[in-house]
Symmetry: C3
């Protein structure tokens, strides 16, 4: 267990940490754009933000593909490579989910914005910030697993908060909205936002697997 994560990657393979940090930067930008998409009321403006988020989604794709390419050409032991691959993949999934949220807002173009959608987008942004911090801390995993564990707990708590917000949102929606088609649209948007926080928690789970194996 001593020839593990930390010793194998640093300083021989610092590029993986760097690529993961770049991925978390893309996630930060995308999540910030999402909080703005949520507030738009015109379809054109919604489409504009969706296109901006889609650009980030493509950057995320390219970065996670680069991680894959680096992994399949670098000399690192197979076991570690898998964990990096999964982590990059899950990070990219959060960006994909943010893209799906923005897409639904743009293509559904709902008549109203419900307050809870903003709250959920705020939680997704907190996920992104937490993940960005975790990517900073990953390099020092062996010395400071305690920080990374706190990050996992935070991602888990954010997901629980999102569950509660989603719950209230649905209760209000069925009470306040009588137009069936608007209910379908708003429910789907809220659902996708809540799924984005699930994807954030999954990053935490991938980090936990790494902690369990290497800390």
């Amino acid at each position: 267990m001593n020839n593990s994560f930390f010793s194998r990657f640093t300083p021989k393979e610092p590029k993986f940490f760097d690529l993961l940090k770049q991925l978390s930067d893309v996630l930060l930008v995308a999540s910030d754009l999402l909080t703005k998409t949520i507030l738009c009321v015109e379809q054109e403006e919604r489409m504009d933000y969706y296109r901006k988020i889609k650009e980030q989604e493509r950057k995320g794709d390219q970065l996670s593909h680069r991680v894959f390419e680096e992994l399949s050409t670098s000399f690192i032991t197979p076991f570690d490579r898998e964990d990096i691959h999964v982590l990059a993949d899950y990070l990219d999934d959060v960006i994909d989910r943010i893209n799906s949220c923005a897409k639904r807002i743009a293509i559904y173009n709902p008549k109203k914005n419900v307050k809870e959608a903003s709250d959920l987008a705020g939680l997704v942004k907190k996920d992104a910030e937490c993940i960005a911090t975790a990517m900073e801390e990953l390099e020092a995993l062996r010395k400071n697993a305690i920080h990374l564990k706190a990050r996992c707990k935070e991602l888990h708590d954010l997901e629980n908060q999102a569950d509660d917000v989603y719950e209230l949102a649905i209760i209000h929606l069925f009470e306040d909205e009588k137009d069936g088609i608007e209910i379908i649209k708003t429910k789907d948007i809220l659902y996708e936002l809540e799924k984005a926080t699930d994807a954030g928690e999954r990053v935490g789970k991938a980090l936990k697997t790494i902690i369990v194996k290497y800390a």
Copy 2:
């Protein structure tokens, strides 16, 4: 392959088996509560059962977190630790899905209870019973993989049965219910119930991975 699962955990690490059994006990309680939630007609009563199930969900969270904490402090080889982590996680996912079912019933508060929802809750309870038995049998995996394999098959069969029930439920729903909003609500509840049996089957898949590696 001889220094595997069984020999590493017993008698050195019996606590993992014990924690997994505790998780499956929580699952049993939650699934039993779900069969009762399904029969309620008043929102207050539905909310009461949902709160009771949510308590179990929190217990499940704490237990799966304890598995994680134990894994990251105990001396066990990385490979095994990962499998225990995944198994505890998937068990916890079934409890989470039961919680989602109860939540939807409570917050959607549908006008009618369809018969197939009870049937699906009954299948989820059978999943829980099957998983509880599997957790008893896990300790003797190397001697008796045949029992555990039967459990995996059972979880797979229960999921197939749930598929068929869900199918019929949807056909009946579109035939019998004309209120679009009630269709949305009941369809979503049925969907979540069916997903709970998917989560049950995933526990079977995690067990299969363990069988493939250690039996």
Copy 3:
């Protein structure tokens, strides 16, 4: 890394490659049937195709179960066994998703067929063809990872195309269809078709994990 995948399986264990190819053949048949299901207008005809696809789904189940049985009785190292298990599982998931698509068409029995549903079914068929080619190429992984990598990219691109088609389909659906219940039905069918291409991409991800570890 030299005693890896290729050397362990060939010629000692050619049956896994053969079983995976058989699975991909079932997938080809199922995806071809799906393109025909999409064009039906009568419920009886839709049900007929669904039953035919369900037969394929059962074949897929049996084959992936055989992979599991072979894995748990053959002498192969645990690590490799897991990857084969996951790959067979994900292949089977694509077949399951095709089955779900056909099921929804048969049990929802929508009034109209939207053009984009055919387009999506066409993309699922391309997924199946790509996966079938990949299963041919898997045996020569160590010599020719470049081919397999191209397959992963193709599955990723097909998923992106499906995303775009789905997006347009939803925009058109909310513009053209005013019947709430028909919107629910068509949206759910389109969603499931798009999920089938997600499942196709996941096969690509399982292949990437194998490339990362063994190529």
